[in-house]
Amino acid sequence: MIAFLKKYEGLWLFVHSPAAMIAALLAALILLGAVFAPWIALVDPYDLASFSLFDGLLPPAWEDGSNPKYLLGTDDQGRDMISSILYGARLSLVIGLSALTIAAVLGVGLGLAAGYYGGRFDAIVMRIADVQLALPAILTALLIDGIARGILPTAIQQDLRVAVLTLAIALSLWVNFARTARASTFVQMNKEYVQAAIMMGQHPLRVMFVHILPNILGPLLVIMTVDLASAILLEATLSFLGIGLPADSPSLGTLIRIGMQFLLSGEWWILWIPTVFLVVLVVSINILGDFLRDVFNPRLR
């Protein structure tokens, strides 16, 4: 067993890092909860018939006047908090992961090509990236949201909320991927195996994706984890500000925004429970990202 672990150095480091293990456990639990929400949640927050106003504003189980059926209490509509959070996390993760995928494909593709071709193409891509970096993510999201409102017919605007939000988040995250991929590609370009591949007359795309990409995956994987956390936070921020998802399809950010209204009226759990949940999720993912960075960069150990 020990020999097996030592062979896979990353695994060996993993079982010796309690922080990474706890973070992985929490992230996995949340992920599983989100994926299987329809089967484990008490009520479906999207289905008005599955909850009742009479159960509204029940506190968590350890407070007076609670209903043991609702472990973490209910909101003003009578929705079970656990159910809302699981469904909210589901939506947040779907948006976060799809935005991340778009950002990674776009960023890695452009970064690889910029590093491979260099010169003018590189300069153009990197100036666009600089402009993108100068715009705060929220501004990008507002812009895209505004454009979408302007050009899309009102009827389908609601249906495309998730897509618009995803695109906005993806556009503010691709720069990280592009910069990292470009810098790593530059390093690989001077290695002889890349020159050997070019020398053999391989197609540039083949050189980029078969030879270079596998060797720059390490840093990209780290960016991916850290950016997943950013994407989830960004979605929460946008939804909190009301430019994200509406109250009838609540993500974690929407839940927190709804909870804000009850902050001063004594029903603290409606705000705090989704907030703590979001913090735990984001911190876990970030710890995992830190751990991966340590694994891929032995100098930091």
Binding site: E192, Y193, M199, G201, Q202, R206, N215
Partner: protein
């Protein structure tokens, strides 16, 4: 006989640094040409420029009669199967996440030879360089320097090229493996009729394998001729210094060592007149003039005070 490779006045500069200041030589079919010089003399740049991996601003490189300097990557592609290159770093020149089987058969895929049986070809190539066939499943990091070098040779030979450009083929190998590799290259050349350009600073390698050799100093050939003639009768003082610095296996041999003075001059400030003047043991006032390239009896020389 027409030359397989004919390099004429090849020049390469990076910005204002003139790395190659006009290099000319030619290689006949079946011939092995060695390019010798100290670090920074531009040896590697010569073959990289021939291969199109380094820029070449002027001059001509004719391969099999066809001009290939400045060809686009697309125009070069069909020629790539005739020119193979062996790189300096045996392990570093193998793509780290690709198995040996795919590494050595990659050239087939690139040249669109899909009908080839990849497994059988991999076995054949491994046998050619005396590696057991189970090496096909290994990754580069699982190979020793000598084994990786053999894989490099196998890959270079995959398409049966007409010309092999080898950059320090023995670098990083211990002496017994060096010998094996040189014998292998000699043997393959005789069997397949390859032409080779070998870059090295190891003179024993040159003596073992090369038919002709050129001595490069500051990006210019200073002497060129048959290996025998140069080892027997070096005429340029620089060649003489290089040869005298070569360790002899015979402990009783009388060595006349000539130590070179100073460092090679900066490429940014090339000396006037003969560029070797400041380090030359036999320089005189006449060396303030610029020496011309003169060929006598198939022995080229750029020196005003030859021995």
């Amino acid at each position: 006989m027409s030359a397989i490779l004919d390099v004429n006045d090849l020049q390469t500069s990076y910005g204002s640094v003139n790395v190659l200041a006009g290099v000319s030589f030619s290689v006949q079919p079946g011939e092995t040409y060695a390019m010798v010089g100290e670090s920074g003399s531009g040896k590697t740049t010569v073959i990289r420029a021939i291969a199109g991996l380094a820029p070449a601003q002027a001059g001509s490189v004719k391969f099999d009669g066809q001009e290939i300097r400045g060809l686009s990557e697309r125009a070069m592609r069909p020629l790539r199967k005739d020119i193979a290159m062996m790189f300096q770093d045996p392990i570093g020149s193998l793509s780290p996440r690709v198995t040996v089987r795919n590494l050595i058969t990659e050239p087939y895929r690139i040249q669109g030879m899909k009908e080839k049986d990849i497994d059988a070809e991999a076995k054949r190539l491994l046998a050619l360089v005396n590696l057991p066939s189970h090496f096909a499943d290994r990754y580069p990091y699982q190979l020793s320097g000598g084994q990786a070098r053999r894989v490099g040779v196998a890959r270079a030979l995959a398409l049966e090229p007409k010309l092999i450009l080898a950059d320090e083929p023995t670098a990083g190998l211990d002496v017994s493996v060096q010998g094996e590799l040189l014998n292998l290259l000699n043997d393959l050349r005789d069997r397949l009729g390859l032409s080779m350009v070998i870059i090295t600073h190891n003179l024993n390698v040159v003596r073992h394998i090369a038919d002709r050799m050129g001595i490069l100093y500051l990006g210019r050939l200073v002497e060129e001729g048959s290996t025998e003639a140069i080892f027997d009768e070096p005429r340029h003082p620089y060649t003489h210094c290089l040869l005298s610095a070569n360790p002899e296996p015979d402990p009783d041999a009388q060595l006349e060592r000539i130590a070179l003075k100073g460092e090679p001059p900066s490429l940014l400030m090339r000396p006037s007149g003969c560029e070797f003047r400041e380090r030359c043991p036999v320089a005189s006032d006449i060396c303030l003039q610029t020496p011309k390239w003169e060929v006598n009896n198939d022995h080229g020389l750029r020196c005003l005070t030859p021995r």
